[in-house]
């Protein structure tokens, strides 16, 4: 709105000029003659300016709406983060004291049972702080060969039980050229891609197919992990990126609910983005975009 105000300055200056001239007693007149035929062009020009102004204002309003929505989402995430940090912070001393206190007790079934529960709380705290760790971990940036990384992930997931009866196909382009290296932290990017492929294996059935594909697109390298697994209901697709959120259809599969939030945190720390497309019963595809 401030910039719109700037547009009024010439008008104000003109007004001041007229007032000064009138006050000085300037009563001279000027006559301008037009051919009537040109009036249509003038009217057209005025109308065009008006339409242009309206379009510009509406586009600006739309941009602002999008930006405030993005700000709201980012603010919500930051707020969540702070809440989790606070929770973690307030719980660590009591849990530490409980574990220490238990270790001072004589050995008994009751003490052992309590200790197991305290250990569970410890693990929960560990999980809660994992995203924070990733957000603060120091990256070691170097050129990363995405294809080699993808093939290493494929080899590593071979150790998972699920990989024995599902097929995993890895494809990277050769023509017109192989993928260019991206600048990033190879250890973290490995974790991100590993999490995606392991997820695809977890949420699929024997006989399902999983594909890990690499592509290059206009300054970005994209890595896509697609599966013919069970898919995610539309209403839960927005939740998958939130920590500890587990969909109603995933209760039968063990997990921390941290896999995808991890992936997103890692990719965003590399200046990239993630998106997910899924159809219930057909399968899921998750795409990572990394700047070259």
């Amino acid at each position: 709105m401030r910039r719109a105000g700037l547009a009024l300055i010439p008008l104000a200056l003109g007004l001041v000029g007229t007032i000064v001239a009138l006050a000085a007693g300037d009563r001279r007149q000027i006559f301008i003659q037009w051919q009537l035929a040109w009036v249509w062009v003038q009217l057209g020009l005025l109308a065009a300016l008006l339409v242009f102004a309206i379009v510009a204002v509406r586009a600006a309003l739309r941009r602002r709406a999008v930006r405030s929505r993005e700000d709201a989402v980012a603010a919500e995430r930051a707020e969540r983060r702070r809440f989790v940090d606070r929770l973690d912070h307030e719980l660590k001393n009591p849990v530490t004291a409980i574990r220490l206190g238990l270790s001072n007790l004589p050995e008994s079934d009751v003490a052992a049972g309590l200790d197991a529960q305290a250990l569970r709380l410890t693990r929960l705290l560990g999980d809660l702080r994992k995203l924070g760790e990733l957000e603060n971990a120091q990256l070691e940036i170097a050129p990363v060969d995405v294809e080699a990384l993808g093939r290493e992930v494929a080899e590593a997931v071979g150790e998972l039980a699920e990989s024995s009866d599902r097929s995993l196909a890895v494809s990277f382009p050769r023509a017109p050229r192989p993928l260019p290296p991206v600048r990033g932290d190879a250890d973290l990017l490995f974790l991100a891609v590993y999490n995606l492929v392991a997820n695809a294996l977890k949420f699929s059935q024997p006989g399902d197919r999983i594909e890990l594909r690499g592509a290059e697109d206009d300054g970005w390298v994209t890595l896509e992990v697609a599966d013919t697994g069970r898919g995610i209901p539309v209403e839960e697709q927005g939740l998958v990126w939130e920590e500890l959120a587990r969909g109603s259809h995933t209760r039968d599969v063990a997990g921390s609910g941290l896999g995808l939030p991890f992936v997103r945190t890692i990719v965003e720390r590399h200046g990239g983005g993630v998106d997910l497309r899924s159809r219930l019963g057909e399968g899921t595809s998750v795409r990572l975009r990394l700047p070259v």
Binding site: N93, T122, G132, N136, A137, E140
Partner: protein, 246 residues
């Protein structure tokens, strides 16, 4: 005349939470240590002066004078006193910084009490054998290998070698914990700042890089020994050397 029993190592515990002090002090006492407690950084420094403990367990997050500042003051005064930090959660870079500032080790709250005792013993083993603690050192050497912990540089047979930052941090952690079996998880948490089971291959990659640079054969290692199914151990005896300023 009675023979005095060998002195129990004296451990100073500094934590502002009485719940932690009250529970940890008797546990450490039962584990064979002579335990002193202090409830804030200032009292901790005073207790170091007055009672000269063998080791300090120091909480990072304390009001007024926090654990890191206490550590900094100790090291600035030239003290090599072994320090284990109980670090603030969720801030992994704090841990890396803590190790760089001269802590001998750190543990994340809530920690396993047995683990704390194991770490204390590992550090005191060196001290009681008459060897200096390594956490507060500026330079270390192991045979032909020498590192400057301040400038983060490495020399092998007097020739400077190039390491990636993470490989250096890994070598630094291995050398400051010689002869200890270090699990991949512990190395990940200390050097990488995140601790995910599938990331353990990252440790193997970096160890391979170190071995290549140090010309260390994994079959008959001089420096880094693989402990099958567990992790790694720095074999060579480590000595203090003054850091070389370029």
């Amino acid at each position: 005349m009675s023979i005095t029993p060998p002195a129990r190592p004296r451990v100073l515990l500094v934590d502002d939470e009485s719940g932690i002090r009250d529970a940890l002090a008797p546990f450490l006492a039962r584990s064979g240590f002579d335990v002193l407690t202090a409830e804030d950084g200032g009292a901790g420094l005073e207790a170091v002066e007055r009672h000269s403990p063998d080791l300090v367990v120091l909480d990072v997050l304390m009001p007024v004078l926090d654990g890191r500042e206490v550590l900094r003051r100790l090291r600035r005064a030239g003290s090599q006193l072994p320090v284990i930090l109980l670090t603030q959660v969720g801030e992994s870079f704090e841990r890396a910084a803590a190790l760089e500032e001269g802590a001998d080790d750190y543990l994340n709250k809530p920690f396993d009490p047995q683990e704390l005792v194991a770490r204390i013993r590992a550090i005191l083993r060196r001290v009681t054998a008459g060897q200096p603690a390594l956490g507060g050192s500026t330079g270390l050497s192991a045979g032909a290998l020498r590192i400057d912990r301040v400038a983060r540089r490495v020399w092998l047979d007097g020739v400077e070698a190039t390491l990636t930052p993470r490989a250096f941090s890994l070598l630094d952690y291995l050398m400051t914990h010689p002869d200890e079996v270090l699990t991949r998880e512990r190395l990940l948490a200390a050097v990488w700042g995140f601790d995910q089971p599938v990331a353990s291959r990252a440790v193997d990659h970096r160890v391979a890089e170190l071995r290549k640079v140090l010309a260390d054969d994994s079959g008959t290692p001089l420096f880094i020994d693989t402990v099958q199914g567990v992790g790694y151990r720095f074999l060579h005896p480590v000595a203090l050397t003054p850091a070389t300023r370029a």
